[in-house]
């Protein structure tokens, strides 16, 4: 497998959706290609950092306006 093919298959590889034979080929390539190892490793970290990071709490003014909107809806007796 060549570097370009590794790049094309990174997503499937990280998602565990790559055919086992291709996984073996890709990992053989990684053993001797430092650049591809770095790209695979940092792409994995990229996906991880996005999925692990908790969202910030709602800004106070946003929360207050949301509550206000609902107080108004509840008073009107929605949704009944």
């Amino acid at each position: 497998m060549r570097c370009r093919q590794v790049i094309d298959k990174i997503s499937d590889y990280l998602d565990g959706e790559l055919d086992p034979e291709l996984v073996r080929e890709l990992e053989r390539h990684l053993q001797h290609c430092e650049d591809c190892r770095v790209v695979v490793d940092t792409t994995r970290k990229t996906v991880e950092v996005f999925c692990h990071t908790e969202p910030a709490p709602l800004p106070n003014d946003v929360r207050e306006r949301l509550n206000q909107m609902f107080r108004h809806s509840f008073r009107k007796g929605e949704p009944n």
Binding site: I10, V38, T43, K45, V47, P55, L58, F70, E78, P79
Partner: protein, 206 residues
């Protein structure tokens, strides 16, 4: 994806029976996730707030129709995505969206430029608030369609199939955009977290 509330089923059932406090409990749990989703897709805080408000109100009005076949959160996300995309479709942004400046070779492959391993894990390299700011910033470097796909798949953890269905796109399109988005974001984050990238870190961590 956020964790379940303890006894979520009974809270949802109470909300369906008209208990407004139960609905507020659900919103307290998931509101900030919906706001972040709206921010990722629309790219600005005012629209994110509109998405949160409109999606919450729609969910409140329609909660009796929620069948419980999926998590409540998944159901709420579907509503929020439709609200967000509805806004952008009105402004014709969705249709115009294309891959932004793909660096492709002649055969269409993406060519990575930044090849540099990362130092500390991002979670260790900066405080949570700063990390959130960095992530929210780099995701806006993607075009609208790509960042919506990336957000649903990699931030909210929907499957490729669910993401495709939600957005009315084919699975190959979702996969191609996801690959390019991951590679582009990897490059953007390498500017912050690469071993030689100290200067790009927020001031307090230089």
């Amino acid at each position: 994806m956020p964790t379940h509330l303890d006894n979520e089923q009974s809270i949802v059932a109470a909300a369906q029976a008209g208990d407004s406090d139960a609905f507020v409990t659900l919103l307290n749990q998931y509101g900030r996730h919906i706001y972040r989703l709206g921010l990722s897709i629309t790219g600005n805080h005012q629209d994110a707030e509109d998405v949160l408000q409109e999606a919450s109100l729609k969910a409140y009005r329609a909660i009796a129709e929620f069948q419980g076949n999926s998590r409540f959160y998944t159901w709420l996300v579907r509503i929020a995505v439709n609200v967000a995309l509805g806004k952008l479709r009105k402004r014709a942004l969705w249709k115009e969206s294309s891959l932004d400046e793909p660096r492709e070779s002649e055969d269409g492959s993406y060519i990575p430029l930044e090849i540099e391993s990362w130092g500390d894990d991002p979670e260790k390299a900066c405080m949570n608030g700063e990390l959130q700011q960095i992530l929210a910033g780099v995701i806006q470097k993607l075009d609208l369609k790509s960042r919506t796909i990336f957000t649903l798949r990699d931030v909210e953890k929907f499957s490729i199939e669910e993401t495709a269905k939600l957005l009315g796109l084919s699975i190959p399109v979702v996969k191609t955009r996801l690959l390019r988005s991951r590679l582009k974001l990897r490059e953007e984050l390498t500017k912050y977290f690469g071993k030689d990238a100290r200067n790009a870190m927020p001031t307090s961590h230089r």
